[in-house]
Amino acid sequence: MSNWIDIAALEEVPQRGARLVKTPHGCVAIFRTAGDEVFALDNACPHKNGPLADGIVHGKAVTCPLHNWVISLETGAAQGADKGQVATYPAKVTGGRILLDADFLQQRAVA
């Protein structure tokens, strides 16, 4: 069973942008697309740990600001010829609020 916790209003994250959420085990980046979908991923590129939240968001992908790896927001997988995987977490928007699954974030510590 999911344990959704309210993080912030959707407007707090710019369209085609991202903000960070601090967790005991590092930062999670919350992305908002042009179509107002939200995605939660580890804020570290599989390449050189670049801060994905600082990248350019396009479609349902983000480009890492350090070396332009493109990461799918839906799957966390590196696109194109690059190989790598970023952890993704359940996130949703309900009533204009961004919700994350606290259980999932907890499991992160164990995983």
Partner: protein, 808 residues
């Protein structure tokens, strides 16, 4: 029964008639007379022979073997003096020859303006190989040439002579060059290109006399101006050569009158080529002559066809001058113009529209889409639906592919590829299928691109499309995978279609992705804010993180912070504030930069607004050390302290930095001002460098000291600081408006040419307009981003902190 066919004149038209006859196995015994001492060659290619790009051997169409193989009795260098229609004979210097059918193909004679001195040695016309050789010979000793006539032939002669090292002046009676094919604007561009090759052009110049005693020595104009000349080329026009026909009593108007079967008023006598007149029209270009030849061959073989004049187009065969004109391009009631200009690239396009059809087109500089426009004219296509983007060519119509190869692939089989020879794509494809797999084989089998040769590229593209991988042609590089357009296309669309937002661009330019990517978005964001400073709202989400967070991201995700130090000048108070900030925020590294600034490296994301606030309090603003925009103006101490300093280089540097800071440019922009030619500020490897001298300021641009190392090129020298300010602003604005995103000034300069930039700056009106546009943009963008960001610090701090909750 074999008939006797006598042909007078061995030019391109009669040559083509003979080819058709022999291909059709027609039963004729052919006797061919030619006043020139040779057979049929490709007269259109005389210009490349003159310029040295080809030799006579390259342009021979029918050699001795060909005549022999087809059993043609040749009398070259033999003038026909009379036709006896009763006896059905022709009289020549070699005697009398009888005919069953006679073909007159005497072509045209150059028009000689009736002025004093026209018969002097050294005055030549430009019609045949002998003329061409005479010009080549005259050019061997160099000297000065005057070409009378600024039409197609005259200009090709002028370019060829200039290529061979002569000092050439073109005299043209009308207000602009090639007035029958070009409008004034295209004529201007052509003139400019010719002048770049050192050719002097005088329009509205009427020749009064040709001067000289034993040989030509000069030309006198109506306004009494005298020009020295060792060679005078008369290329003012041609008239049909009709003497024989007139003497024989055939009906002759301006040319020999023929019907739709190319028959003259005598049923056994035919005429073809430049000597004929059909329906009041004369013909000078090769395409209709070839059409005539085909019809005439059919008439002789008694399978009559009908000649109908078609829409014509013109191209100039001067390497480097790309022009195209077709149809009727005079302005008039009910006619509308669509005009496109790209002065940076010297491109001009004009379409004349009447009743939703294109009836005329003039193109200069980029004629790559000319076939498509010509098709619209010829087919009278209704263009109402594509009118908005029509001028950009086929690539912008209804999602049609802009890859030239795909565009060629999409052409129907009956699309004309070679205008001279009337060869369609289907014929070329068939020839390729039959084994003609290179351009030479295609030429010999289909004649496509075998006449004027300007469609060679197109024929190669058909080859490439048909053959696939074996034939690779370079194509323009699109911006990224989201679009087929190049940066240049995009800038053009944004300006001409007044696209003022990202979605407007994506829509109008048929973006393949919903919101672009990390490659195109920053470029588009820049183009939009540079072109529409008042209308477009900067989109931080389309900027690289450095420009979004106003700091340079480092490999560990921390940032570097560089406060601005105007002209590299600082104070003890500023230094104290920087030292305090470095301690307060535990900055691990403090470094002096190459641009005379202090860099605080390793600042954490969430500390950025606070450290900026502290530096702001000490009077410092963002140094934009991260931006595609003005970075630094480096200076030396100049006349304030230095015993060599000629001017106040520090003061000027500070003024420049205060005027330019905050402006966004295609790539980073670094300046320096040195107080004397010893150049301690290293101004000559900057994007814009100023070196002070006793008499003023040398402004040079296009330096680099990165992956490429380049010395600047002198843009101009000015006397006052005020002029320096204007020139620097103007050149910066021109760079902002015209360069491709991520091109430094030196790359931009390589594309548009220093000449072009100099011309913009030298023209005081253009300079002032550029300065005004720069100043306008600065009213929006010359703001301290630190002060703005401090008040909205949200992006820098976490959205939520779950560390406590999770611990519970």
């Amino acid at each position: 029964m074999t008939q006797k066919l006598v042909v007078i004149g061995a030019g391109m038209a009669s040559g083509r008639v003979l080819e058709h006859l022999f291909e059709g196995n027609a039963d004729f015994d052919v006797t061919l007379f030619n006043a020139e001492e040779r057979g049929n060659y490709n007269r259109i290619m005389l210009s490349p022979v003159l310029s040295g790009e080809k030799t006579y051997e390259d342009i021979v169409t029918h050699d001795a073997d060909w005549y022999e193989a087809n059993n043609v009795t040749c009398h070259f260098g033999t003038h026909v003096t009379a036709i006896d229609r009763q006896a059905k004979t022709v009289t020549s210097t070699k005697g009398t020859t009888s005919y069953d059918k006679l073909l007159i193909a005497t072509g045209s004679a150059p028009f000689i303006i009736p002025v004093q001195g026209k018969d002097l040695p050294g005055v030549i016309t430009y019609r045949d190989l002998d003329d061409t050789n005479a010009m080549i010979q005259a050019a061997e000793t160099g000297g000065k040439a005057v070409v009378i006539g600024g039409g197609l032939l005259g200009l090709e002669a002028a370019a060829g002579l200039a290529e061979r090292g002569m000092e050439v002046t073109v005299l043209h009676l009308m207000g602009h060059l090639m007035e029958r094919q070009l409008d004034e604007a295209a004529g201007f561009l052509l003139r400019r290109d010719l002048e770049k090759r050192g050719i002097t052009v005088k329009c509205r110049a009427s020749t009064a006399a040709i001067l000289g005693t034993d040989k030509v020595e000069g030309v006198l104009l109506e306004d009494n101006e005298g020009l020295e000349a060792d060679l005078v080329v008369m290329a003012v026009g041609i008239r049909p050569e009709t003497r024989l026909a007139t003497d024989a009593g055939l009906e002759v108007a301006r040319g020999i009158e023929v019907g739709a079967q190319l028959q003259t008023s005598d049923p056994d006598i035919f005429a073809v080529g430049e000597c004929v007149e059909f329906d009041g029209q004369l013909f000078g270009l090769v395409a209709p002559l070839y059409d005539q030849a085909k019809v005439l061959a059919h008439s002789l073989m008694e399978t009559p066809a009908v000649f109908t004049p078609k829409e014509l187009s013109t191209k100039l065969k001067v390497t480097g001058c790309d022009l195209f004109s077709a149809g009727d391009f005079a302005s008039g009631e009910g006619r509308e113009d669509i005009v496109f200009r790209d002065p940076a690239r010297g491109v001009y396009r004009r379409l004349v529209i009447e009743d939703d059809c294109v009836i005329g087109a003039v193109m200069y500089g980029d004629t790559s889409d000319s076939n498509w426009f010509f098709g619209l004219i010829r087919d009278k296509t209704d263009i109402a639906d594509m009118r908005d983007t029509l001028i950009f060519g086929p690539a912008y119509q209804g999602g049609a592919p802009s890859d030239p190869l795909l565009a060629v692939a999409a052409l129907p089989r009956d699309a004309e590829i070679c205008g001279c020879n009337g060869i369609c794509k289907g014929q070329i494809e068939d020839a390729i299928a039959a084994g003609a797999t290179d351009i030479e084989a295609l030429r010999s089998q289909t004649k496509a691109s075998a006449s004027c040769g300007t469609c060679t590229g197109l024929v190669e593209q058909v080859l490439s499309v048909t053959l696939g991988d074996d034939f690779v042609l370079p194509t323009a590089q699109p911006v990224c995978g989201c679009t087929d357009m190049t940066h240049e296309d995009l800038r053009r669309m944004i300006k001409s279609q007044e696209l003022k937002s990202l979605p407007a661009v994506w829509q109008a330019c048929d973006w393949k992705t919903p919101c672009g990517c990390h490659v195109c978005r920053p470029a588009l964001n820049f183009y939009l804010l540079a072109d529409w400073p008042l209308d477009y709202e900067d989109d931080p989400q389309s900027r690289f993180v450095n420009e979004r967070k106003h700091a340079n991201i480092q490999k560990d995700g921390t940032f570097s912070v560089v406060p601005r130090m105007w002209g590299g000048i600082t104070t003890p108070d500023e230094l104290r504030a920087i030292a305090d900030a470095a301690e307060k925020y535990a900055v691990p590294t403090v470094k002096v930069t190459g641009g005379q600034r202090i860099d605080l490296l390793g600042v954490k994301n969430e500390d950025l607004p606070a450290i900026w606030h502290d530096l702001n309090q000490a009077g410092m603003v963002s140094g934009h050390a991260y931006s595609k925009g003005l970075r630094t103006v480096k200076t030396c101490v100049g006349s304030d302290h230095c015993r060599f300093g000629t001017q106040d280089s520090t003061g000027l540097g500070i003024q420049l930095e205060k005027a330019l800071w905050g402006s966004w440019t295609p790539h980073k922009l670094k300046l320096a001002v040195s107080g004397c030619p010893r150049n301690c500020a290293e101004a000559t490897c900057k994007d814009i460098g100023i070196v002070c001298v006793d008499s003023g300021y040398q402004i040079s641009i296009g330096g680099a000291a990165g992956m490429d190392v380049r010395e600047t090129s002198l843009l101009c020298q000015v006397a006052t600081e005020a002029e320096v300010m204007d020139v620097v602003k103007a050149v910066t604005q021109s760079y902002r408006e015209n360069a491709r995103y991520l091109d430094r000034i030196y790359k931009w300069m390589d594309k548009v040419g220093l000449d072009w930039i100099q011309a913009q700056i030298a023209d005081l009106d253009t300079r002032a307009a550029l300065v005004a546009r720069f100043d306008l943009s600065q009213t929006i963008y010359r703001k301290d981003p630190w002060a703005q960001q401090v008040v909205k610090s949200a992006p820098y701090i976490p959205l939520a902190n779950l560390t406590l909750e999770a611990a519970e």
